[in-house]
């Protein structure tokens, strides 16, 4: 059972720290990587940049439902990220990643058993997309993510394909499939699952003038399970459905953005008493984007609900990039 809990933590954090998730067209903040490769075709030129993010979570009595008073965890979290997107012609290449993401968790049901748990994660995303007739886009992508803590050393790899279409200059749709594989010593064999993504966006204007974008998207990840080594136990990965919407605008060189995301972790049928869990995230961004330089500050709140328990995490982040049309 211990292993099950360890890996559940691993995968949840993979989701928490996901990229900025632009599914249909790129964010107006060019430092944010696209989530599916086909969206990269709609970038406005090349970009190089990076950012940082830190957050804190406290799950004390103030943030738990009054019926559950036990301390579950306190957490501090930090990472840095980079992006390089190159768009010489109709082909776009994008490499992005997270470097040395570290998380400190104080975990224990009482003060005598509290312990410090630390993990490190590095993530690399490669995307290649091609745009045709300025109306269609196809992309392929590869992702590698290493995760390590005191008891676990695992590697997630994923590859996939996606497409996008543009109508009436301002309407974009996209869809994609990803195939993911998680390798870990604790698993008897690799854990594999599929992910389907789709979305629609409306986008007007140009980033060097005024611009407005609104996007809605959904991502569905299959449930999966694998035997644990030398054990009759299974590791279960729940079905995860992510819905999200974002609004961004550039007005007079200032960038404003808001993103809402809801993630539903469905209960696993094989586990008695397992229940759905839900996570909602709200992020606002305020930045400055003149012609080449873009600087954006982000504030984000994440609320996780499990039965009547509520966990709240606050994040702060910043992005800086240089763009070349």
């Amino acid at each position: 059972m211990k292993n099950i809990l360890i890996f559940a933590t691993l995968l949840i954090f993979s989701s928490i720290n996901g990229v900025s998730a632009q599914v249909v067209t790129p964010s107006l903040d060019p430092t944010n990587p696209v989530e599916i490769a086909a969206a990269a075709s709609w970038r406005f030129g090349s970009t190089i940049g990076g950012g940082g993010k830190w957050g804190t979570q406290k799950s004390d009595g103030d943030q738990l439902d009054s019926s559950t008073q036990s301390d579950l965890s306190d957490m501090a979290f930090v990472n840095s990220s980079y992006i390089f997107a190159y768009q010489p012609t109709t082909v776009t290449f994008e490499i992005s990643g997270v470097v040395n993401e570290t998380d400190y968790q104080w975990d224990g049901s009482d003060s005598t058993s509290d312990s410090l748990t630390e993990y490190e994660k590095n993530e690399t995303n490669l995307k290649l997309a091609i745009r045709g007739n300025n109306q269609v886009s196809v992309g392929i992508e590869f992702q590698s993510e290493n995760y390590k803590d005191a008891s676990t050393d695992s590697k997630l790899t994923a590859y996939g394909g996606s497409f996008g279409m543009r109508f009436l200059d301002s309407i974009f749709i996209s869809g994609g499939l990803n195939r993911k594989t998680l390798k870990a010593d604790e698993f008897e064999s690799d854990l594999k699952w599929q992910e389907v993504i789709g979305g629609v966006a409306f986008q007007f204007g140009s980033p060097d003038q005024n611009m407005f974008k609104i996007e809605g998207a959904i991502k569905i990840e299959d449930k999966a399970k694998v035997n644990l080594s030398n054990s009759a136990l299974y590791y279960y990965r729940p079905k995860i459905t992510t819905t999200q919407g974002s609004i961004e605008t550039i007005l007079g060189g200032y960038l404003l953005s808001y993103r809402y995301r809801k993630i539903l972790f469905e209960a696993i049928d094989d586990i008695a008493l397992d229940r759905d869990r839900e996570e909602t995230r709200n992020r606002i961004g305020l930045g400055y984007r003149p012609t080449v330089l873009t600087m954006v500050l982000y504030g984000e709140t994440r609320i996780e609900m499990e039965d009547s328990n509520k966990y709240e995490t606050q994040y702060l982040g910043f992005n800086v990039s240089f763009s070349f049309m």
């Binding site: 045709g132 007739n133 269609v136 196809v138 392929i140 394909g161 499939l177 195939r179 599929q194």
Partner: protein
């Protein structure tokens, strides 16, 4: 003396695993708009005058179920390389396909599974007066199958095929075609065998040579039963190839160079199989495959795409494998 049960197990593998790796974009009468797709009948290639080269990586996994229980984890990984050249009215096509399978199990049950697979194909086709094409091809298949029996063993199976085919453009957008493949099989357990497959099809293709096209092709392949008895002094078993019928349908829709393809294939093989693990029997096996793909196809330049495929095979046991592919190529 090799026991009959082992040979019975191997009957299905001849077809099953070639279907597991085949691409399904229906190139019997007309060429698939998916450039990375493997041709089936050579004469179809002449209706395309593109020069292209491409490759594909594929990865899949699934389960085998027997009597309601999941008994094996099935994994497959492989790659394909495809070349198509058009020189005047001569078209040359070739591909190499290879796949490695990994079957994980705690205990073995009656029923074979494949270890690896490789396939090569070279074809030449000619365009006649603009309404007729003819073609010939050499087709080689090789695979290693692990046969579960009293003396579990790897079995090597090789097939060599010679293919001849023709197509006719009946109206501006309607095509008919057919062909035969003479197959010679060698098997490390049985004597050599041979038979002839016959294939026919019809296609509707609109918008040729533009960046917005629509194509539908349906085809059927009949493979007859073929038996070879052992001669006196043979140390191998008799050979038996079961009869089968394969139906395919393929739809291509290209809009502004963005290609969406869907294909379905169904194969029924007439074969008596009794599974010693359960005691159950069937008199035929069924294979069902669905594949969808998206690809960017320019007039010239880089091709980029991906595909998703589901494979199902059912006799006494049932295999289901989902796989995903990404492909990259170039039209010049």
């Amino acid at each position: 003396m090799i026991h009959n049960r082992l040979m019975q197990i191997l009957l299905g593998s001849t077809f099953i695993y070639s279907l597991l790796t085949i691409q399904l974009f229906g190139q019997v009468v007309t060429p698939s708009l998916n450039i990375i797709s493997k041709p089936i009948m050579p004469a179809a290639s002449s209706w395309s005058k593109l020069n292209s080269v491409g490759g594909e990586y594929k990865d899949g996994n699934g389960k085998r179920k027997l009597d309601g229980n999941e008994i094996y984890d099935l994994e497959v990984e492989g790659s394909i390389g495809v070349v198509g050249l058009s020189i005047g009215n001569l078209d040359i096509d070739a591909y190499v396909d290879e796949a490695r399978f990994d079957t994980k199990y705690d205990a073995t049950y009656d029923g074979d599974f494949i270890n690896d697979f490789s396939e090569t194909y070279v074809s030449f086709s000619l365009t006649g007066d603009g309404d007729v094409t003819v073609g010939a091809a050499i087709h080689e298949l090789a695979r290693s199958v692990f046969a579960v029996s009293d003396g579990d063993e790897d079995v090597s199976i090789k097939q060599s095929g010679l293919i001849g085919s023709f197509t006719v453009k009946v109206f501006e957008s309607v095509f008919l075609g057919g062909g035969v493949e003479r197959v010679s099989e060698t098997n490390s357990l049985s004597v050599d065998n041979e038979w002839t497959n016959a294939t026919g099809g019809i296609a509707f293709w609109f918008g040729q040579d533009t960046d917005s096209q629509f194509r539908v092709e349906a085809s059927v392949t009949e493979s007859p039963k073929a038996e070879k008895e052992v001669d006196t002094g043979d140390t191998k078993n008799s050979a038996y190839h079961p009869s089968s019928r394969t139906n395919r349908i393929n739809v291509d829709l290209m809009m502004n160079g963005l290609l969406f393809s869907y294909s379905n294939i169904n194969q029924i093989t007439q074969q008596e199989i009794t599974n010693s693990s359960t005691g159950e029997s069937v008199d035929k096996s069924k294979t069902t495959i669905n594949e969808g793909s998206v690809q960017w196809v320019p007039e010239e330049g880089m091709i980029l795409g991906f595909a998703f495929k589901t494979f199902g095979y059912k006799e006494v046991y049932e295999d289901n494998i989902d796989s995903f592919k990404i492909n990259l190529g170039f039209i010049f």
